[in-house]
Amino acid sequence: MKESRRGSLKRREAIEGWLFASPWIAGFLIFTIGPIIASFILSFCDYSVYSAAKWIGIENYRKMFFEDSLYWTSLYNTVYYLISVPLGMTVALGCALLLNRQLIGKNVLRTMYYLPSVTSGVAISLLWMWIFDPNLGFFNDLLKRVGINGPLWLQSEKWSKPAIILMSFWGIGGTMVLYLAALQGVPEQLYEAAELDGANSWQKFWHVTIPMLSPTILFTLVMGIIGSFQVFTQAYVMTNGGPLNSTLFYVLYLYRNGFVWLHLGYASAMAWILFIIILVITLLIFRSSPAWVYYEAKRGKWI
């Protein structure tokens, strides 16, 4: 009697478990798995919404790799933009180390560093267009004050990407907060033990701080790379890919193919290659992680 009651309770809980999770399960089927399969099939088709999809085999991929030089331009620009990930992480770590000290007005400082990272979108892109204005913006004015003649930034083929990378540093506050939290989790005894062994500041940083931060570094690296591959709004609003396609990033080109020219098959093929590139890079980073990421014996933090 008791056994069967427990059994029915368990069954009830199982049913309710599925029921409560059903919004996400349904969403996963409708908005994730279904579309992934559909976009894979579409990538082998010629398709605009208005006519039926026509199977053309690997034609989209062939065209992409061997005929479409703009595709390679967009890939090159995006890979170039990836520099912003390690650079931004370094800046974020520097800021976190600074704020981890006993400073007067620490919370005010943290707010100042963190604030820009929560703002994004069109308004911010417009603001940076104005900042980078070669004659009227304040960036070149500041440079002039220290004796540098600033470049044309967004209007220059050579400086447009560095400008967008510079702009990305402004939003490192989120990463910094993660590093700050991780720094505060490093046990004081480890530093004391290192001091007893005669370690100097640099050695403490390199052999205690960095290993203790490595899981967070791994995580921000992976998420940063995924995010950088998807840069879109800045490029669309500030330069619309120009000048001379120097800021035509992957997703901007994908957007044009899919939603301006309605080459939905071709855009799907681009999306799949993007997916594969991100997957391979992520796997390579995770594969390399045992060599440089230090995990404590306790269960991983992320799950």
């Binding site: 908005f31 579309p35 000290r101 703002t119 993660l178 957007y255 999306a271």
Partner: protein
């Protein structure tokens, strides 16, 4: 001893100077934005740029706002943002409850799948979802921007789940003995205890929707349906715009996000450190 102390004070002051200089650099673009928004048009063309306007011209805000139907864009944005907020809170609390408090076959596998979708570039699903919504006739409606939020979001589910697992399960057990249903446990016990996590979710959802650009760009072509982001872009490309007006409108668009940030900063930071993700 005294020398050591002096040395410490010197180093300490250097760090303070460095930290505050950096802080000012981070804030500078905002100051520039606000300063431009109050300038006379002629003053925005002066080189080198002036940081403090010679007179504060409030009219830029009114004139900028009137160039395009920004009241309508604001209304659309508020409508979408609030609808998404409701969808997000409803769906994600239910799902997170299931993943954190209930035992059911397949749960752990599905949770791993859920986490892996965090890394999925959304572009892979973008086109088929667009095709789906256009077959439903939803292009040029706000539905494609709202409806998906009712189906849960892996980031928010993860965030809430991480918070729920810190609440003692004994509370649920006691309530169950008293005959509480799961729904009641979630509603009356878990949610009141989870205000910080719910606040974090609400804030991230608000910011994400308020600033979203790609989805409105893809789904909305009619000007009457535009959001603020879209309106702002349109405004720049369609009209002869002066930077002072453009910055004034941008300040207005940004203001709700800044206010929320200052009111709710600690929940933001909690949300970030709880999940290790930046929202």
């Amino acid at each position: 001893m005294i020398r050591g102390k002096t040395q410490y004070m010197v180093i300490n002051s250097i760090f303070h100077v460095l930290a505050y200089t950096l802080g000012i650099i981070f804030i500078l673009p905002f100051i520039w934005m606000v300063s431009t928004s109050f300038k006379e048009t002629a003053e925005t063309f002066i080189m080198p740029p002036k940081w403090i306007p010679s007179s504060f011209r409030w009219q830029n805000y009114i004139e900028g706002w009137r160039i395009a139907p920004f009241n309508l864009y604001l209304l659309n944005t508020v409508k979408i943002t609030l609808s998404v907020l409701i969808g997000t809170l409803l769906s994600n609390t239910l799902v997170a409850y299931s993943f954190s408090r209930l035992e059911w076959p397949g749960r752990d596998i599905l949770f791993v799948i859920l986490l892996s979708t965090l890394m999925l570039p959304y572009q892979v699903t973008l086109i088929p979802v667009f095709v789906l919504f256009s077959k439903l006739g939803w292009v040029n409606t706000h539905l494609p921007l709202i409806i998906p939020s009712f189906f849960g979001n892996p980031f928010f589910i993860f965030l809430l789940r991480q918070f729920f697992v810190t609440i003692p399960i004994e509370l649920d057990d006691a309530a169950k003995i008293d005959g509480c249903s799961n729904f009641k446990i979630l509603w009356q016990i878990l949610l009141p205890l989870s205000k910080p996590a719910l606040a974090a979710v609400a804030i991230f959802s608000f910011m994400g929707t308020w600033n979203d650009f790609l989805a409105p760009l893809i789904y909305l072509n009619k000007e009457s349906l535009f959001t603020l982001s879209l309106g702002l872009t349109f405004f720049r490309t369609q009209f002869e715009v002066y930077w002072n007006q453009l910055m004034a409108v941008s300040v207005i668009v940004l203001l709700p996000c800044l206010i929320i940030f200052f009111v709710a900063q600690r929940w933001f930071i909690q949300g970030i450190t709880l999940t290790g993700l930046k929202g």
